[in-house]
Structures are given as structure tokens and as C-alpha cells.
């Protein structure tokens, strides 16, 4: 059932976010070309307008992505649509998984579109000359060779980033689910729950980081994590911590949706 739930969640996200992310890339490309033309003609009005449009679109994308991630969960599971969603033959765990995976995927797609728009704009505007680009490409093998000694650490770093994103999304959903247990002022209760969870989260993270530092001192005699041998266990520990945190928030969300469901 998870793949079927994902299908409709992804569809719903794509309807709202895909045109926006597409517009960012299109405006970035148009902006790059406009700056290139303005270098020749001297007129920079169009390029200026497009730069403003690009900045506005970037802000809009961030705000709209966050809002869509929040509303998709609330409206679809805890609003009136919840009567349909919870009538489907799927477990509460599958519903949560679908919402978390789809939100994480769209945050990643949004970030990728944002980051990609910069080189697109720079390349098309001609601000990076072909010679410079070729130089950068020539330096790549050396850069990759230097990074290769950290491959495992970098892989764990990527896993850590993904787990951190998932933990953050599940924390937000746990806060919304806790807030929805109230009959009134659900939005305020959700914000309160998020602040409370964040405070607990901070204390736990400080405790975990402190413990990690002590273990590192015991093992290496230093507080610094400098070499690849020290970096990998550090990232592995951070990943386990994030996974545990996400698991706890997941359980809180599950408890609210399965045991204390309070639909509008």
C-alpha cells in the first residue's frame, strides 16, 4: 500500500511544486542570457527585472515548499480528507511513511533545483569563461583523488544529511499530530509542541555531542576530528543518533494518529 499512497502524495506535491521549480530554472536561464545580452547592448533593465523575479521565486519556493509539507500532512490526514485516507486499507505507519518520504523527496528536489539554477545562470551569462570552466574540469581529478580518502566518511555524511532531514520532518509531523489532539487552537498547540520537542532535542543533542567528544578524547587523546579514521566513526555515531531521534518522533506521531486520532 505504501507505493500507492506515495503515488498520490507525489502527484499532489508535483501539481504545486513542479511548476515552481521549473520556473526557477527557466528564469535562471533567461536571466543568464539577459545578462549576456546586456553585456553586448549595455541595457540591463530586463536582466535586472529577471534577477528580481529570480530572487522572489527562490523565496516563494522555500515558503511554498515548507507550507506544502505542513499542509499535505495536516489537511490530508488530520483534516476532513482524513476520513477518506484512514478508510483506505493502509496502516498508520504506511500513511506516515508516505508523507515523510514524499516530503523529503520534494525538499531534495527543491534544493537541487535551487542549487542547479546558479551554475545555469552563471554559465549562460558568460560570467564563467570557457577557459575557467576547462581549468575547473582539469582540477576535478585531483580534487576527487584528495576526497577519495574520505569516501566512507562522505557517504556517512550524506546519510547523516538525509537522516537529519527525515528527523526534522518527522519532528514537525509529530508536533502537528500532538497539536491535533486538542479540540481547539490546534495550530498554537502544534507550535507549542514543536518548541517543546526542539528544547528536549537540543538537550539530548548536547548530551550526545558531549559523550561523543569524551569518547573521541579517550580513543585519540584529542578533541579534534581531523583524519578519515576519526571522521567516519563520528559520522556513524551522528547517523545512529539521528535515526533514534527520528524513531522517537515517528512513535509519537503514530501514537497520536492511531490511538488518539481526532479528525476535524
Amino acid at each position: 500500500m505504501l507505493n500507492r499512497l506515495l503515488k498520490y502524495d507525489m502527484k499532489s506535491y508535483s501539481r504545486v511544486l513542479l511548476p515552481l521549480y521549473g520556473a526557477i530554472l527557466a528564469v535562471a536561464a533567461a536571466n543568464g542570457l539577459a545578462w549576456r545580452v546586456s553585456d553586448v547592448t549595455g541595457g540591463s533593465v530586463l536582466a535586472g527585472i529577471l534577477t528580481t523575479a529570480y530572487i522572489i521565486l527562490m523565496f516563494a519556493a522555500v515558503i511554498l515548499t515548507v507550507l506544502t509539507v505542513l499542509l499535505r500532512f495536516y489537511k490530508n490526514l488530520l483534516g476532513r480528507e482524513g476520513y477518506l485516507m484512514f478508510a483506505l486499507p493502509a496502516t498508520v505507519g504506511e500513511h506516515i511513511a508516505s508523507k515523510v518520504i514524499s516530503a523529503a523527496v520534494w525538499v531534495v528536489i527543491g534544493s537541487a533545483a535551487g542549487f542547479l539554477s546558479l551554475p545555469v545562470m552563471m554559465l549562460l551569462s558568460g560570467s564563467i569563461r570557457t577557459e575557467e570552466w576547462n581549468e575547473m574540469m582539469k582540477a576535478m581529478p585531483y580534487l576527487l583523488e584528495r576526497l577519495s580518502q574520505y569516501t566512507t566518511g562522505i557517504a556517512w555524511g550524506v546519510i547523516f544529511l538525509i537522516l537529519s532531514l527525515i528527523a526534522l520532518i518527522v519532528k514537525v509531523y509529530a508536533s502537528i499530530a500532538l497539536g491535533a489532539c486538542a479540540n481547539e487552537y490546534r495550530f498554537l498547540w502544534s507550535i507549542g509542541a514543536f518548541i517543546l520537542l526542539s528544547i528536549i532535542d537540543s538537550f539530548l543533542t548536547m548530551g550526545f555531542a558531549g559523550a561523543g567528544e569524551k569518547i573521541n578524547i579517550m580513543l585519540t587523546g584529542s578533541t579534534a576530528v581531523t583524519d578519515s579514521a576519526g571522521f567516519t566513526p563520528f559520522m556513524m555515531g551522528a547517523c545512529v543518533y539521528c535515526a533514534v531521534l527520528a524513531g522517537i518522533y515517528w512513535f509519537v506521531t503514530w501514537l497520536c494518529l492511531d490511538r488518539k486520532l481526532n479528525l476535524e
Binding site: Y8, R15, R80, E81, F86, A87, L88, P89, R259, L261
Partner: protein, 231 residues
């Protein structure tokens, strides 16, 4: 065959008791009216069967199973409110029902939709409230389910729509299924009922065959309801 069994079932919300130690068995092949005034526990009982709520104590079994993913395959549920995603097109909604419910008869649903002149390409938010209610009913009754849970299907609709709803229910349900209709508008529904369950202050006041009750009391179920729940 008993499709729904409640054993000493209770549900409380804080200090308020919505259902108070209910024991009830409902069989297949029957249309059962779950009647009672507002706040008598009708919607709570339906939500417990659909696993939208969990019991505070006691047990509820749907075809011998605790409500959950497996029982939702067998139960077709019509809530007492507008529940369809407004941004969705009707044809996407039909796809969704096909994807999730093996017993959904798309051809039957499309035929009913066509007979009402509704466009499949239309988004739900573009439809009138009455049309959306009809679409909800069509989707619910186009499943070949074992149990139909219909929560206040005729509340707040005009008399013509009321007739359409009742005709759709009677004309489309699986005859081996159990149809549980929650309502306080008994006069309109009583002609289709085989059995009636009166809920009063969270307890089962009576559970009887509809004809037997009419004969025994010498009045319609609606009149008897008014007598029992007189303010």
C-alpha cells in the same frame, strides 16, 4: 453470520461517556438503522468500527477481526461530512478507488456519474455541495463491500436528493452485506430497514426487527422514536 460484534464496548472522551458498555451483534444481509438523537453515540460507534477511534474498554470485532487495515478492505464507509479532496479531479478519485479497493466497480460508478451528468474531468471543488454528496455516495456504494457504514447519509439534503440517496443505497448494495445507516431522520429511512438499533445516552435501548417492532408497538418506528426520545 455476525459481521459486527461489540462486547461490553465503551468509549469515553475525557469525563464524557459516548458509549457505555455496549453489547451488540449485527448480521449479514440486513439493512440496520442505527438511530438516536444527537449525542447518543451513533457516530462514535461507526468510527470505532472503522478504526478512526479506539475503544476505551471492551472489544469490537469486524468479521472476527479487530478493526484495522484488513477490515478496511471489507468496509465501505460514508462519513457524515464532505471528505473528498477538493483539489482532486473526479477521474483521479476514481483511479484512487480502483488502486486501493479491489472490490470497487469502476464501470458501475462511472455509469451513475454519467446518469447525473457530472463531468469526470471536473475538480471536486468546482462541484456544488449536493453534487459532491452524490459523488461520495456513488463511490461508497460502488464497492462490493461486506459492510456499508453510512453515517447520516440524508442529513441536510433536500427531499429529492434524499430519495436519490435512498434509492442508490437500496439499488446498489451487495445483498449479502450488512448496511448500517446512522440517522435521526427515521421517517424517510424506516421503509428500507430490516432491523433497528436505538441508542440512548450511549447505551443500546433496543435492537429489534423493524416489522416486529412496528407490530408490537402498533405504530411506525418514527412515532415510537418520538415517544422514546420525547424531551
Amino acid at each position: 453470520m455476525n459481521l459486527i460484534v461489540c462486547k461490553d464496548l465503551s468509549k469515553t472522551y475525557g469525563k464524557t461517556t459516548a458509549l457505555d458498555h455496549i453489547t451488540l451483534s449485527l448480521e449479514s444481509g440486513r439493512i440496520v438503522g442505527l438511530v438516536g438523537p444527537n449525542g447518543s453515540g451513533k457516530t462514535t460507534l461507526i468510527k470505532l468500527i472503522e478504526h478512526l477511534l479506539v475503544p476505551s474498554s471492551g472489544e469490537i470485532l469486524v468479521e472476527g477481526m479487530a478493526p484495522g487495515k484488513d477490515t478496511k478492505r471489507l468496509v465501505s464507509y460514508l462519513p457524515d461530512r464532505d471528505f473528498l479532496p477538493e483539489d482532486m479531479k473526479l477521474e483521479t478519485l476514481l483511479d484512487m478507488y480502483v488502486d486501493f479497493f479491489d472490490d470497487f466497480n469502476r464501470a458501475k460508478a462511472e455509469e451513475m456519474i454519467k446518469s447525473l451528468g457530472i463531468q469526470k474531468s471536473q475538480r471536486l471543488k468546482k462541484m456544488s455541495k449536493g453534487t459532491r454528496e452524490k459523488v461520495q455516495l456513488i463511490l461508497t456504494m460502488s464497492r462490493d463491500a461486506h459492510i456499508y457504514l453510512l453515517d447520516e447519509p440524508i442529513a441536510g439534503v433536500d427531499p429529492a436528493t434524499r430519495d436519490y440517496i435512498l434509492n442508490t443505497i437500496v439499488g446498489n448494495y451487495n445483498e449479502n452485506a450488512l448496511v448500517l445507516i446512522s440517522t435521526h431522520l427515521i421517517a424517510d429511512v424506516e421503509k428500507v430497514l430490516d432491523e433497528v438499533v436505538f441508542l440512548k445516552e450511549g447505551q443500546v435501548y433496543l435492537h429489534r426487527n423493524a416489522d416486529d417492532l412496528r407490530t408490537e408497538k402498533g405504530m411506525s418506528i418514527d412515532s415510537y422514536f418520538r415517544e422514546v426520545f420525547k424531551c
